[in-house]
């Protein structure tokens, strides 16, 4: 296609393997938003977000917290009468906004994901303590102590790892990843 793909197209292009219909097929029935358990915390309901994507309101969409609120429980995807894979579309938006480095102020999601990925590239396994710093500071003092309290309890019950786990063939693993994305910006 010679012409530059519109926003909706760009988002769909980030859905490598989803079998759902394109966002253009949305009939704005609101089943997704009616189903969504997190809808209350989104500044825009998923349905509205899709409408705005189709309208090409890129900046407004990326400024929204909606897709970062998605718990990827796939309830919308399962129920959508237009067979649109909404949860995957939310993933696509996350990827898009991280790729363009454009997202709402003060969101933990992006930083967290980034750290998480780095961690896995490093060790091949996830390890909670590494993650803590990514969000703990953005918490208010009260939350901080609550988290700390929970953590301590878990520690006492022997449910928190002390040493970071790592896989054996880490070198191969890294090179494997290297064939998909440039490691430079991750490690």
């Amino acid at each position: 296609m010679a012409t530059k793909p519109d926003f909706s197209q760009e988002v769909s292009n980030l859905l490598y393997a989803s079998e759902g219909n394109p966002l253009k097929r949305c009939i704005q029935c609101g089943t997704c938003s009616g189903t969504c358990p997190v809808a209350g915390f989104m500044d825009l309901t998923p349905r509205r977000l899709i409408a705005m994507i189709n309208a090409g309101l890129k900046d407004e969409v990326l400024a929204s917290n909606t897709f970062w609120c998605c718990a990827s429980c796939y309830h919308c995807t399962v129920r959508c009468p237009s067979n649109i894979d909404i949860a995957e579309a939310m993933y696509a938006l996350k990827r898009y906004s991280m790729w363009k480095n454009q997202y709402q102020e003060g969101l933990i999601g992006p930083i967290f994901s980034e750290t998480f990925v780095k961690m896995i590239v490093k060790s091949g396994r996830s390890y909670e303590p590494v993650l803590a710093p990514t969000y703990i500071f953005s918490y208010g003092i009260r939350e901080f102590f609550q988290e700390a309290y929970t953590a301590t309890n878990l520690m006492l019950k022997g449910r928190l790892p002390v040493l970071p786990p790592r896989i054996k063939r880490l070198e191969n693993f890294r090179r494997m990843i290297g064939r998909i994305i440039p490691l430079g910006d991750l490690t």
């Binding site: 490598y16 393997a17 358990p37 494997m176």
Partner: protein, 295 residues
């Protein structure tokens, strides 16, 4: 003896250790061997899909390929891992280009994905592979009158599309009845617990869990049974935080279905990792004692 390539997943190593222990114990009783996949790597959770889809598929594919090599079906006890593996496998089989790209990366670890291994959730192994009759036959200490919530959570079933089963599944209930417990008709058994949000969107996650706990209390359930470490941690470990946030007084034990099955098989609680929960599951235990005396 049935064998499976067992993919514990990161959380079962520590925070959900009890799930791991109880899974091993109970399956052994059922003549099923879970052979831990050698050198498995993180499935990428949800976060990976935020960054790079292809990479996420590759991570899952590595595990799938290793399972293929040992020629066993892959079993994941964590719904998140299960969903990632299951759909990675599905997508790669449907989309040769994607598979080619991923296999190109796998070469670096001398692996190849061809889609030979099936991916199963641990609870599927109990319900479909072993079968409820087999399980019944092993029950020595039925959890009589124990009101248990069969909490499916989201990713065991979704995003599959066979609606009757996705919106109104019954297999968890069946399993609980098989071990003598009394499954509660819990309206939110398929509602998401917000596991993936607990860090990135704490308040949302907490209030989601709160709704679940509230309706669990309304249903007069004694305990919630889960089949996913994320759900367990979310529903249990954060109760005290929820109580502080919302001034509630929840004290609802949340255990793994394997722990309940184990108890019904008469396996000592300790070996099932019972005792490591923050909200003590003693009520469950006391029920067992009771049913013991009855037998």
């Amino acid at each position: 003896m049935k064998q499976y390539a067992y993919f514990p997943g990161c959380s079962l190593e520590k925070i959900a250790l009890s799930y791991h222990l109880s899974a091993i114990e109970t399956t052994r009783k059922l003549d099923v061997e879970l052979k831990e996949l050698d050198d498995w790597n993180c499935c990428g959770a949800t976060a990976y899909f935020h960054v790079d889809e292809l990479l996420a598929y590759t991570l899952c594919a590595r595990n799938l390929a290793m399972a293929e090599r040992v020629g066993l079906d892959l079993v994941a006890p964590c719904s998140g891992c299960y969903k990632n593996m299951y759909f990675t496998s599905a997508h790669l089989q449907r989309d040769p280009d994607l598979a080619e790209h991923v296999n190109f990366a796998l070469e670096e670890d001398n692996l190849h994905f061809s889609g030979k291994t099936a991916v199963r959730h641990l609870i599927e192994v109990f319900v479909n592979e072993v079968g409820l009759d087999e399980i019944k036959s092993k029950v020595s200490h039925p959890l009589r009158d124990l009101r248990v919530i069969p909490y499916y959570g989201c990713q065991i079933l979704r995003p599959r599309k066979d609606h009757e089963n996705v919106e109104e599944p019954q297999f968890f209930e069946g399993l609980l009845s098989a071990i003598g417990a009394d499954p509660v008709d819990y309206p939110h058994k398929l509602r998401c617990c917000g596991g993936s949000l607990i860090i990135t969107n704490r308040l949302a996650a907490l209030s989601m869990v709160r709704n679940l706990l509230q309706s669990a209390v309304d249903c007069e359930a004694a305990v919630i049974a889960t089949a996913c470490p994320m759900c367990q941690v979310n529903l249990e470990c954060y109760q005290q935080q929820i109580n502080q946030e919302f001034g509630t007084k929840f004290f609802m034990p949340v255990v793994y279905f394997t722990q309940l099955v184990g108890l019904s098989f008469g396996i000592p609680p300790k070996r099932l990792g019972i005792g490591s929960e923050l909200v003590s599951a003693t009520p469950v235990l006391s029920w067992i004692q009771k049913s013991k005396q009855e037998n």
